[in-house]
């Protein structure tokens, strides 16, 4: 099951947001991938893969979740990605 969302964190999916996201993926217990539209899918439980992919604020990404309950996991992870996890800078 797939869904396309836009990343809302001010500094993209690096540092703290990347950490929190991979933790959320691992906690879901599902096989999850994240990719740019038409891009190569990255294991969403891999913090190294996520950081190296360099997803930025405003990027569209495609989430793919396999298995039972995929819809609920997609809802949770989409909500995470569309929330800003970086504090406002001055």
């Amino acid at each position: 099951m797939e869904r396309t969302v836009t990343i809302a964190s001010g500094h993209g999916l690096h540092a703290r947001p990347a950490k929190l996201f991979t933790q959320a993926v691992a906690a879901s217990g599902h096989q999850v991938t994240i990719a740019r539209p038409e891009g190569k899918a990255v294991n969403a439980a891999s913090i190294l893969g996520i950081i190296a992919a360099g997803f930025e604020n405003g990027d569209e990404v495609v989430l793919n979740v396999e298995g039972d309950d995929a819809e609920r996991v997609l809802d949770e992870l989409s909500e995470f990605l569309t929330t800003d996890h970086d504090e406002a800078a001055g």
């Binding site: 540092a15 933790q23 950081i51 190296a52 504090e87 001055g90």
Partner: protein, 561 residues
């Protein structure tokens, strides 16, 4: 051997300490060889998993005892060490018959190369991976990865650079200063020094050559390490340490220059909970209360008037009888909000942000002003309200009227766009005060994106072009008798604070931890001194030259007394 007397680096803060050098390093791993494994791939994989798990467990253990910022870094590093793709890569490398040591080093190396190619920010993460790789290989080789330091006396810590996993186990109470041979002003060492108020000099090439026990003066203000100082140098250093201590111990009176000219020292506050800390550190009020925190976690709707009013009341209540400058919601660019967002823009920094976005959502503006006026009525603080991203006289007149009409007496505008700095006389004649946001003013003057590492060198508020704009605003404020503040990073730089005052700025707002150093720096100079130092900076061609010229002018004036 030529005797080294003086080393140069980048100082963090303005402190001075005297003490003995102690080199701190942990055992590093020996470089793994290409030797074929005698154990077989399965046994090597088990060894690799065990070593990675031990490093990750150690990181998590240190994270548990660390402060919040360090904890985030260490937890991220533990996740990197546990990364499923890293293990997959180790397994691939083991397929060619190498040892676990070699496979682990190559797997980390693969990811580090990927990150190093991706730009400046990622290069720092690549440095993290080298550190993790070294720890894992050392664990495989049976070497300790602990950093053991307890000389039993205070010391000047010397290292190549410090990793978060290292500093988490240090007893920082024993550390007089950090001096590192590598790393820059954004390195982990510098950040930790700033957080903990520890004197530090980073990038001091040559420090690795000093033997343990060497007596040094670490002078962060001048970015110098003096080796084996003579009696006169020691006496000078001790006098400066005593003066700094006396200033820190003295009850923090109102900020002022040496001739008594008042310069209000205010705090930047991002959340209501930060107000108490600002009061404790001697802030005379708040110069910038950012209100975005109330809105940022909201996806579709703005917070209610009642919720907003309660948050504003909390901050205002901490400052009875004192000034609290609240900035209206500054949405857009780096802080997009779904319910205020104008949709896709090619150049959001030049788009519908700040006051422009507020004007497009009249109800958000009206609610915020209503909540602020309500909080004003509940407290004794002197509420000032200002608008971000003002570009014209018409916008100034509009927002000033809106703030006054809400029942708030003092209205102002932020000077972030060069247009309003250039016609500051006309802008200030239509409002009550101006506050210069030096971060954005520099971004727009130099056309250099604040968030883009590749143009970071242009993002320097010392640039004479930026200083000249500050001078325009300062002069207009003086002519019209209107207050002009600065609330960007620039205000926290002790020397630049003097320059800004010389350019006509009447209040400085900064993160509360910077207040003490700025207070001391201002008290050393009269208004005439500050003007002369500002002139020296204005006459320079480049930001670095302006900083040097101001430093030289300040030293000459102080030496002449």
């Amino acid at each position: 051997m030529i005797e080294v007397r003086e080393l140069r680096g980048v100082g963090v803060g303005t402190g001075v300490v005297v003490g003995p050098v102690l080199h701190v390093s942990r055992q590093t791993a020996a470089a793994p060889t290409d030797a074929r494994s005698a154990l077989g791939a399965d046994a090597e994989l088990a060894r690799a998993r065990e070593a990675l798990a031990s490093v990750s467990a150690q990181l998590r253990e240190r994270a548990a005892g660390a402060d919040e910022a360090t904890r985030d870094v260490l937890e991220a590093q533990a996740l990197m060490t546990d990364d499923p793709e890293l293990i997959a890569s180790v397994e691939r490398h083991l397929g060619s018959g190498v040892t676990a040591e070699k496979a682990v080093a190559d797997a980390f190396g693969e990811f580090a190369a990927l990150l190093a190619d991706a730009g400046e920010y990622f290069a720092e993460r690549a440095a993290d991976l080298h550190d993790l790789s070294d720890r894992a290989v050392a664990a495989l080789q049976g070497r300790s990865t602990e950093l053991v330091v307890d000389p039993g006396h205070p010391y000047v810590l010397v290292a190549r650079d410090l990793a978060p996993a290292d500093t988490a186990v240090l007893d920082l109470d024993r550390v007089l200063a950090f001096v590192t041979s590598e790393g820059g002003p954004t390195s982990h060492t510098a950040i930790l020094a700033r957080q903990r108020g520890i004197v530090a000099i980073v990038g001091a090439v040559g420090v690795e050559g000093l033997p343990d026990g060497t007596q040094v003066i670490v002078d962060a203000e001048r970015g110098r390490v003096w080796v084996d100082p003579d009696a006169a140098e020691l006496a000078d250093a001790e006098a400066r340490i005593a003066a700094r201590q006396a200033a820190a111990d003295a009850p923090a009176g109102p900020g002022a220059l040496a001739d008594g000219t008042p310069v209000k020292l205010l705090a930047n506050v991002g959340k209501p909970g930060e107000a108490a800390e600002a009061v404790r550190l001697g802030a005379e009020g708040v110069g910038l209360f950012r209100t975005e925190f109330l809105f940022l976690d909201r996806l579709t709707t703005a917070p209610s008037v009642a919720d907003q009013q309660e948050s504003y009341r909390e901050v205002l209540a901490a400052f009875p009888g004192k000034r609290v400058v609240v900035r209206l919601l500054d949405a857009g660019a780096d802080k997009p909000l779904a319910f205020l967002s104008p949709g896709e823009e090619e150049n959001p920094a030049l788009g519908q942000r700040g006051l422009r976005a507020l004007r497009a959502s009249a109800s958000v503006l009206a609610d915020q002003l209503t909540a602020l006026a309500g909080a004003q009525a509940q407290t004794e603080a002197e509420l000032w309200v200002m608008a971000p991203m003002v570009a014209t006289v018409e916008e100034t007149a509009f927002i000033t009227r809106a703030i006054h009409d809400a029942g708030i007496r003092t209205a102002g505008v932020m000077v972030e766009i060069p247009s309003v700095a250039l016609i500051a006389d006309r802008v200030l004649s239509r409002t009550d005060f101006a506050s210069i946001g030096t971060n954005d003013l520099t971004q727009y003057t130099m056309a250099a994106d604040r968030q883009l590492g590749s143009v970071a060198a242009l993002q320097d508020p010392w640039h004479p072009a930026v200083l000249r704009l500050v001078k325009e605003v300062g002069a207009a404020g003086a002519a019209l008798g209107k207050p002009v503040g600065v609330c960007g990073e620039a205000a926290a730089d002790p020397l630049l604070a003097v320059v800004l005052t010389g350019l006509g700025v009447t209040s400085l707002s900064m993160s509360p931890t910077a207040l003490a150093d700025v207070r001391v720096s201002l008290a050393r100079h009269t208004l005439d001194d500050a003007r002369a130092i500002a002139e020296a900076a204005l006459a320079a061609d480049e930001a670095a030259d302006a900083r040097e010229a101001a430093r030289a002018a300040a030293d000459t004036i102080t030496a002449g007394r």
